[in-house]
């Protein structure tokens, strides 16, 4: 049998596949988060310069990385949906947006709580922070624009243009600490040089990064499934699924008072 990536690009085929994947990613996220939290909050020693305030890194960096990655994924799927007219790709983009906005909010929130004890300020208008705030507005703008257009396919196309244009902001966020003088510290971990962290701290952070990855995949797939049901509600296969769902639940309902 020839394997094709496009096999699962049909909502009807993607729906059951994603349904099987979601619990696994939730479980994986939970296990990784427990391991990462134990490592980061219980095992890792304190930091010589920043004291225990540094432990915020274990939630700040994963959410901040994710806020950028989710945006790139969202813009990518939105572009695929726009160029190839792939319905599922547009739904994936829309499913990613709220989680991306949440990750951006959490990066800003934890950043403020980290900035206050280490810089003495909750917020400064520097390049890194301002471009991350702009990212939050891009997510909210994407969602608001999509919600304001009634026809879903037209909404997909308009929002996709916004997502693609806004993608310029992501490299700006990433390189802002190099391009401008900023209060924000440089990257703790990069592909080109050895990490400037103790091994326990590094492993705790990577565990949390993978936990947030797994979490994001789980919630985005789960949200996408609801979008599929909504948009395909008049099709026979959705009717089949809902019928089976009801029939499998019915006996238990009847057994209860």
């Amino acid at each position: 049998m020839k394997f094709s990536l496009f096999y699962f690009s049909s909502p009807q085929r993607f729906y059951p596949l994603s349904g099987r994947l979601v619990p696994w990613f939730y479980g994986l996220a939970g296990l990784l988060a427990i391991a990462g939290l134990v490592m980061g909050l219980l095992v890792a020693p304190t930091d010589a310069q920043q004291g225990d305030a540094y432990r915020i890194i274990f939630i700040h960096v994963p959410t901040a990385w994710m806020s950028m990655l989710v945006y790139l994924a969202m813009a990518f799927w939105a572009a695929v949906g726009l160029v190839f007219g792939a319905r599922l790709a547009s739904m994936l983009a829309l499913a990613l947006a709220p989680t991306g906005a949440l990750m951006t909010f959490l990066a800003l929130w934890t950043g403020a709580l980290w900035g206050r004890p280490t810089w003495g300020a909750w917020w400064v208008w520097d390049a890194r922070l301002t471009s991350e705030l702009l990212l939050l507005f891009l997510y909210l703008g994407f969602l608001a624009l999509h919600a304001s257009i009634e026809d879903p396919r037209r909404a997909d196309r308009s929002a996709a243009v916004l997502a693609i244009v806004g993608a310029v902001n992501v490299p700006i966020i990433y390189f802002s600490v190099k391009w401008w003088n900023t209060l924000h510290q440089g990257a703790s971990v990069s592909l080109t040089k050895a990490p400037s962290m103790a091994s326990q701290m590094l492993s705790a952070m990577l565990l949390m990064v993978f936990a947030v990855w797994a979490y994001t995949i789980a919630v985005a797939l789960a949200r996408c499934r609801t979008l599929i049901l909504d948009r395909e509600r008049h099709t026979e296969w959705v009717a089949d699924i809902l019928r089976n769902d009801l029939n499998s639940r019915q006996p238990r309902w009847e057994g209860q008072p």
């Binding site: 909050l41 095992v43 225990d52 915020i56 939630i59 959490l106 919630v219 049901l229 809902l242 019928r243």
Partner: protein, 70 residues
């Protein structure tokens, strides 16, 4: 608390105090945890609402859903 070598803290109070940064550290992790829990809850709720709405909204297609038959 457990093994002295493995766990960095010597008491629960010390752990919660986080070297004086307790509110900042816990404020970060708790808000993140609560926000993600709320997101999961919202996803489950909107799915339930949608399914209820589809079933309710289709008196004619209730036939096609096989609901009338039962």
């Amino acid at each position: 608390m457990g093994g002295p070598a493995l766990i960095y803290w010597s008491s629960l109070t010390e752990f919660l105090h986080m070297g004086g940064y307790g509110p900042f550290v816990w404020g970060s992790f708790l808000v993140a945890g609560v926000a993600m829990a709320l997101e999961c809850w919202q996803i489950v709720q909107s799915r339930r609402r949608l399914i209820a709405q589809i079933l309710e909204q289709a008196p004619a297609s209730g036939e096609s859903l096989g609901l009338a038959a039962r």
